[in-house]
Amino acid sequence: MTRRLAAGFVACLATLLVGRSAAAQQYVLGGSATLASGIAGGGPDSAALERARTRLRVAIDFRVDEFPKDILAVGMLAELEPHSSFGIDLRYVRRLSPKLDVNAGGLAFFYPESLIGPTCGLNYHFVLSPTVDVVVGPELDVFIIGTDLPGNSVVWQGLLQAGIHVDL
């Protein structure tokens, strides 16, 4: 009796430890790099419009192969000119069609000053190969919190971005 109990316990333990995740559920990784620029406005003089800073975004996105339309993306942001700043963003991307997706999330710059706000965008994919797309699309960012905001103002920017996306 004791031997049978011990054998059953070992069998259960072995099943738990050696058990593999379901083969149908796999994470699919993607990577992208885009350049963006556009217009920026808001601030203390809400009528002012300026050219937005040129921004480089390098991102990784994750999705589960069972739900290929739901994608989570994390990006590193670097504004290049006329002034530099660095930050990150986190977005939920929804694939509307094989060539079109929309995204929404938040972005935050933390150097040299902090700047946080929501973002949304739209991307059109020009398919070059089954794993490589050229991505073009507009994006709207609104910065509502941060030490980079003068006074109690809000700064927004509308960007047009273009780049490449690869399924890893």
Partner: protein, 139 residues
């Protein structure tokens, strides 16, 4: 229905963003604090030196708040001021600020220009706060 309208929205937003690329950044103005150089503050859309409260323009030179731009060529103004100080010019041509110096005799106008050039040569660029010829109150 939604997907049929999306390309139109996409195109509209893209064109708007492209048009925005043509908008130039105005010098000396700021939307964000980091638009200004280190040590400056962004106040009312303008980069301001926090210590001296001096506006800073694209050229990087600072001048007191409210003071006129010293880089503006003040030759005509200073010559008029000089001419205006001459009794004969004041009588013949009226106020120097009204252009009396240029209306006066040729010799007076030429003298006034010569004075102005001499002033510039002695003191370099005239600063309004120096009390020089630019404000017509030569010491």
């Amino acid at each position: 229905m939604l997907t049929s309208r999306l390309p139109l929205a996409f195109a509209t937003m893209s064109v708007s963003a492209l048009l925005g690329l043509a908008v130039g950044c105005k010098p000396g103005e700021c939307l964000r604090v980091s638009d200004c150089n280190t040590g400056l503050m962004c106040v009312d859309g303008t980069c301001i030196d926090a210590g001296t409260d001096a506006h800073v323009d694209a050229g990087g030179d600072a001048r007191p708040d409210g003071a006129p731009d010293a880089r503006v060529d003040s030759r005509a103004d200073s010559s008029a001021s000089d001419a205006g100080k001459r009794p004969d010019s004041a009588q013949e041509g009226g106020s120097a600020r009204d252009g009396g110096a240029h209306d006066g005799p040729t010799a007076d106008a030429a003298d006034a220009h010569a004075d102005a050039h001499a002033d510039a040569g002695e003191g370099g660029t005239k600063q309004p706060s120096d009390g020089g010829a630019a404000d017509g109150t030569r010491g």
